[in-house]
Amino acid sequence: MTIETLLVAIAMAVAAGLVGSLAVMRRMSLAADPLSHVALPGIGIALALHIHPVFGAVVMLAFGALLVWALEDRARATTESAIAVLFSAALAVGSMMTTGENLIDALFGGAGVPSWSEKIFGLSVASAIVLFILLSKNSLVIMMVSPDVARTADIKVRRLELLYLEAFALTIALGLRYLGVLLMGALIIIPAVTAKRLSHGLSSMLWFSVALSVLSTALGSAIATHLHREAGPITVLVATALFLLSLLARRQRSAD
């Protein structure tokens, strides 16, 4: 792995750590998985049209986030069923349109060396997401506690909600080439879940989540290079190992 690729991977990990913190606090831990499925038809269409698969995935994920946002306005039970139906259907359509090897790459990552344009795209999208979360964290926290209270604090709740969902979807898209859409969901959620166990307040939650996400990515890449394996699964296993360690740390602390 080259230095630039590692840099892009770390930028992606920082974005995943921040987006994941909010996702876990908002009880959206399971949303990454169904949302990631919509990337597949996008990849299929892009391949059929001979355009870059990442582009197709980005467009479809952005559209998926918009769909979730539009449905959220309605009763919660209906939204959940609608998401389940639509996104499972997307998986079926996607797997029909995407051939074997491309499908595995899309799901679990690792399709050769990313091009320069991909690296620049990855770095700029990751920076935009990081900037968005850092600038909006206060509004996002208030909205998470109560959207109605947020409204009276002059927060444009619906717009912020859409921006957050798009940031979430784009973070999944970022991981497409490196981790694959399925494993990227894991990198968004697992470090944040670990951070939540270790944190008392908001800043420690964000810091821990970013640190754990970056550590998992860096360590995962190093181990993968050493073992001549794909980085994605190993990165997620490192994140999971850190989570298990946090269980021990917590137990130790309560035993003290």
Binding site: M25, A153, H200, G201, M205
Partner: protein, 240 residues
């Protein structure tokens, strides 16, 4: 149609005309009209399901409605919702929550004693995660949160629900004091008619059949209460 500001007569903070809210086929509020005078205290009462919370949510623009809701120019609303469903282990402290409000309002507050002292929350409690606070503590934190925004109107949705008796007294006293000291306009939902009688200048009584609006003495009559609640309702009037 959504709420707007401006075009409200000088003595009023809020004017509501022909407000209706419905969800699909169910009408929750029908053709509601009332005005709220500046620095007054208005109690919203009525049986469960009469649409009290819906009314407050319509007033802050959280719901689609028909009719007109007009707030006076420069209104700053502090909204204190009913008990919120929070995870115990959410890593957000009371201070994080207040800091977020200050940051959104572009107020560089480093010391929250000016809002924590009036609501009677010690700083050590405010430093705890909000999910671990008791119902009464969190309710008071929400009021402190509203105060950070420097409101001139407070909307309180059953602020004393789930709070023990001494805590209730304290909260009611707090709201009355804030209203007097900062000449706030207060709209509060309550089920305690004695508190309504004591604290409200006007009472808005919602029921499926009809709506009544007027001073407590004319609204809280045994006949009217029987009509609205469908059974005998008694309350104790504190003599001051």
């Amino acid at each position: 149609m959504h709420g707007m500001t401006g075009a409200v007569s000088a003595e009023n903070v809020l004017e509501v005309n022909h407000l209706s809210v419905h969800f699909d086929a169910t009408r929750v509020l029908t053709d509601l009209s009332f005005n709220v005078a500046k620095s007054s205290s208005v109690a919203v009462i009525g049986p469960n399901g009469a649409g009290k919370t819906i009314l407050l949510r319509a007033l802050i623009g959280a719901l689609q409605f028909s009719g007109m809701v007009r707030w006076t120019e420069g209104v700053r609303i502090g909204y204190v919702p009913q008990k919120l469903d929070l995870e115990r282990d959410i890593p957000i402290t009371g201070v994080d929550f207040l800091s977020a409000r200050a940051a959104v309002a572009h107020k560089p507050v480093t010391d929250f004693s000016s809002v924590l002292t009036p609501v009677g929350i010690p700083l050590e409690v405010a430093r705890q995660p909000i999910g671990t606070m008791s119902g009464g503590q969190f309710q008071r934190l929400l009021i402190a949160f509203a105060l950070v925004g420097g409101p001139n109107v407070l909307l309180l949705d059953e602020p004393t629900a789930g709070v023990d008796e001494p805590g209730q007294e304290h909260l009611n006293e707090l709201v009355r004091r804030l209203q007097k000291d900062q000449s706030l306009t207060v709209l509060f939902i309550s089920h305690e008619l004695s508190v309504v009688y004591k604290n409200a200048d006007q009472v808005l009584c919602l029921s499926r059949a009809r709506t009544y609006f007027g001073p407590p003495r004319t609204i809280l009559t045994p006949d009217l209460l029987r009509e609205i609640y469908g059974s005998e309702v008694s309350y104790h009037v504190h003599d001051n």
